[in-house]
């Protein structure tokens, strides 16, 4: 349906005057036609290194289809609904002519294609008004530099993408891998979606990835996960081990001491994250004195708690997943277990600090790329927009934010490519794309198809108030680079595991 070189280019560039006009009918006035032509000429002026990206303003008709699968029923629905709402919010904003700031990084010229060029990060006004917060998150004379930024949602200059309305197809995965596979086939083969955004557990992702690869479907996996997926068709926008585990382990060892006890969910996420911890703790002077893997069905933690008490660690690394396993926190608190805890998954997705009575999560340190409480203007604006659309939602989690910015990133990539042709859009994703997400700046690293993230260390106190003790404005997804993965030059379709890296041996 693409590359019919019909003369009605204007159709795709039908820039609707009023960004809030939802009924983007395809008739166009002279004025919109002119605006469209401007956009076309801007496209033609693209710099040389993007020359390979075709500017075929093909007269694709009908809406741009984004397929989105998450679990809206069953055991995993407690997380899936958040992500589904995130997708709805992003699509609504795109259709209302909004976009997140950002574009290809590094060259002002390219930014014009994606509407806005990049601003370099600024800390305060020069050096005079630099603000600091202390460990508790309060303003103070010294400590962590801190800057209030502005909202990042801006006008895109068109409603929808390339003048076409965006349609969200979001069926229910029902927490069942079989249904995920059926739905993936249906979305790709019947609905012919332009982009697939899907996946909560690694098992769900691995269930559908072979189908994605069979049809060379552009696929975005938005969950935080164990890392290692090197797949030419897949783009991973969630944070991974090197971005979360290393900062938090480093901090906890400095702050509380070297003796670490890991209690982790017994499946690939927990096992591989524990492997990262095992490999990395000695580098920063730590020592794993105990490790326990708990099956996902276990919900009574008496014995695990006694084992931790027998081991007497300085702090506990909890990598527990799912609603059964979050029982650990109230049970440990009731037993009087008072070790500091660290995690990469809790609070920011299952909002344990809101659900459980204080002080169950006292001294819990969480290394996340997003948490609803991030005290920046851009995040407060995002949270406000969210609750205007979904006033009854209980919480906005880490993965929900990932889904939200990923769909905006897709819109940006399509505008750069000038077409929804999936191969072209994949190349646009590989053009060094950056985006101002609610968490902060994210950058789609071209060679590994993973994102750099703005990582924060959030902690809950005895009253479950959240504050931020450290932040790392940009942590690269470097592990696949270390293994020599370069998807731009060599196509791959696999998931690497830590055993393939000598660093993890022994």
């Amino acid at each position: 349906m693409k590359k019919e070189n019909t003369p009605d280019q204007t159709d795709t560039n039908n820039v609707v005057e009023d960004a809030l006009d939802e009924n983007a009918d395809l008739t166009f006035t002279r004025r919109t036609f002119l605006k469209g032509s401007v956009a076309v000429s801007a496209g033609i002026a693209a710099p040389a290194y993007l020359a390979g990206i075709s500017k075929s303003f093909a007269a694709a008709s009908g809406p741009v289809k984004i397929g989105h699968i998450e679990d809206l029923s069953g055991n995993l629905a407690v997380y899936g609904v958040q992500k589904d709402h995130a997708a709805q919010l992003a699509v609504k904003e795109i259709n209302k002519g909004k976009t997140l700031k950002g574009g290809p990084a590094g060259s002002g010229g390219v930014g014009s294609l994606s509407n806005y060029a990049v601003n370099p990060p600024v800390m305060g006004n020069g050096d005079k008004d630099l603000k600091f917060v202390n460990d508790g998150g309060d303003l103070s004379g010294s400590g962590m530099a801190f800057v209030e930024d502005e909202d990042v949602l801006i006008d895109s200059g068109e409603s929808g993408i390339l003048g076409r309305e965006v349609e969200l197809l979001h069926p229910d995965g029902q927490s069942s891998n079989n249904i995920w596979q059926q739905l993936t086939r249906k979305l790709i083969q019947e609905d012919k979606v332009d982009c697939l955004v899907a996946g909560f557990t690694s098992a769900e992702r691995e269930a559908i990835r072979p189908i994605v690869d069979q049809f060379k479907q552009l696929y975005i996996y938005t969950n935080q996960y164990e890392g290692g997926v090197a797949d030419s068709n897949t783009f991973c926008t969630g944070a991974i081990c090197e971005q979360q585990v290393i900062p938090v382990v480093d901090y906890m060892i400095q702050r509380f001491g070297p003796r670490v006890y890991t209690i982790a969910a017994d499946y690939n996420f927990g096992q591989l994250t524990a492997a990262w911890t095992r490999a990395f703790a000695p580098v920063v002077g730590g020592e794993i004195i105990g490790e326990e893997f708990v099956p996902l069905s276990v919900s009574d933690f008496t014995t695990s708690i006694a084992k931790i008490q027998a081991a007497k660690p300085d702090w506990v690394f909890t990598l527990l997943v799912g609603s059964n396993q979050s029982n650990y926190y109230p049970q440990a608190a009731a037993t009087g277990l008072e070790y500091p805890m660290a995690s990469t998954v809790n609070m920011a997705q299952g909002y344990e600090h809101r659900r459980f009575k204080a002080p169950s999560l006292d001294r819990m340190y969480n290394c996340v790329n997003y948490i609803e409480e991030i005290p920046t203007n851009r995040n407060r604006a995002f949270v406000k927009r969210w609750y205007e659309m979904f006033p009854d939602d209980p919480y906005i989690g880490q993965m929900a934010q990932n889904t939200y910015f990923s769909i905006h990133m897709y819109a940006k990539a399509v505008r750069i490519a000038g077409t929804t042709d999936q191969e072209e859009v994949k190349r646009a994703f590989e053009s060094g794309l950056h985006l101002e997400a609610p968490e902060g700046t994210v950058f789609m690293e071209p060679s590994t198809h993973h994102c750099s993230h703005y990582i924060r260390l959030a902690t809950a106190d005895a009253d479950h108030n959240v504050s931020f003790v450290r932040e790392w404005p940009s942590i690269q997804p470097w592990w696949l680079q270390r293994l020599g993965v370069n998807l731009v030059r060599h196509k791959e379709y696999k998931q690497y595991i830590p055993d393939e890296d000598p660093f993890f041996k022994g």
Binding site: V78, Y79, V294, D300, T302, Q309, N324, P330, T335, R355
Partner: protein, 300 residues
């Protein structure tokens, strides 16, 4: 004599593990053990108990023990309605009951999800903790162990010494004969099912503070409940359930402590497998047989 802290901790863990298995199985003891209905909605009945207790305690401000009592009666009432409308059509049709209760569990879980959302705010675990050596113990779990023992005695008394108990045992053994002797069997069935549902609600409420209050929370109890009841056997469901929860906990606790939760769970499942293999009718049937043999020996 000073008790070794580790030994005390093991005793405490053994008690909590056994109490957890027993409470998870409580409602099912009556519904599967006595009525022989494979109730796959057991977990959802427990979930309802937890929700009622949470709402009664957190929103209506009732003290927690009262909230537990409210849960028992609310879920028992729901059980009565369920029995009258649906379950009574499936007596004697075990597979039909299995499918219909499975459907019910899906409807109840997803319905709760749609009405109440993904999570409810938790109930704070009542009581504090004791420490001894490097170990510490939750007071609430100690209370739960006590309540489990009280429930065993209460159930035994109910079925051994009350008129309802006699009628219920007669009905479950031979409904036709009981009916001929003037037992209102249909009412006994309704009462027994609603008692089972109420007990599931009660244990759901008791376990609520220790767990996440979520629509699908019931599923975590289903497997331990079925294992406990099936291993216990049907000859005498109450002694069977007590025997199996004690035995399974005695296997799970030391192995879990030495080798971790994963192997602890594996040990529990393997033990259940072996017990069912060598005692196909469950622990209670074996105990019954031994007692009969001893009685026969003493007579002769």
């Amino acid at each position: 004599m000073e008790l070794d802290p580790l030994a005390l901790s093991l005793i405490y863990q053994f008690g909590t593990n056994a109490a957890f298995l027993f409470l998870a199985a409580l409602g099912l003891i009556v519904i599967l053990g006595m009525m022989n209905i494979i109730n796959l909605a057991h977990g959802e009945l427990m979930m309802m108990g937890a929700y009622v207790a949470t709402i009664a305690h957190n929103q209506a401000g009732l003290p927690f023990p009262l909230a537990v009592v409210v849960s028992f009666f609310s879920v028992a009432l729901f059980g009565t309605v369920l029995e009258l409308l649906i379950v009574r059509r499936f007596y004697g049709r075990e597979l039909g009951a299995l499918v219909v209760t499975w459907g019910l569990s899906l409807v109840l879980g997803q319905g709760t999800f749609l009405v109440f959302g993904p999570f409810m705010p938790a109930i704070k675990i009542p009581g504090g903790s004791y420490s001894y050596g490097s170990f510490s113990f939750s007071e609430y779990w100690l209370v739960l162990i006590g309540i489990s023992i009280a429930l065993v005695i209460g159930l035994y008394w109910l079925y051994r010494y009350t008129k309802y108990g006699l009628q219920a045992r007669a009905t479950m053994q031979n409904a036709e004969m009981a009916k001929a002797l003037g037992v209102p069997t249909s009412r006994v069935y309704t009462l027994t099912f609603s008692l089972g549902a109420g007990l599931a609600g009660l244990s759901g409420a008791l376990l609520a503070p220790t767990s996440t209050i979520a629509p699908f929370m019931g599923q975590q109890f289903v497997a331990p409940a079925f294992i406990t009841v099936v291993v216990g056997g049907a000859a005498n469901v109450i002694s069977g359930a007590v025997g199996s929860s004690v035995l399974l906990s005695a296997i799970k606790t030391p192995i879990g402590m030495a080798f971790g939760a994963f192997l602890g769970t594996v040990a529990l499942l393997v033990a259940a497998l072996i017990i069912i293999r060598i005692m196909p009718n469950g622990i209670s049937a074996t105990i019954q047989k031994l007692m009969d043999r001893r009685r026969a020996a003493s007579i002769s």
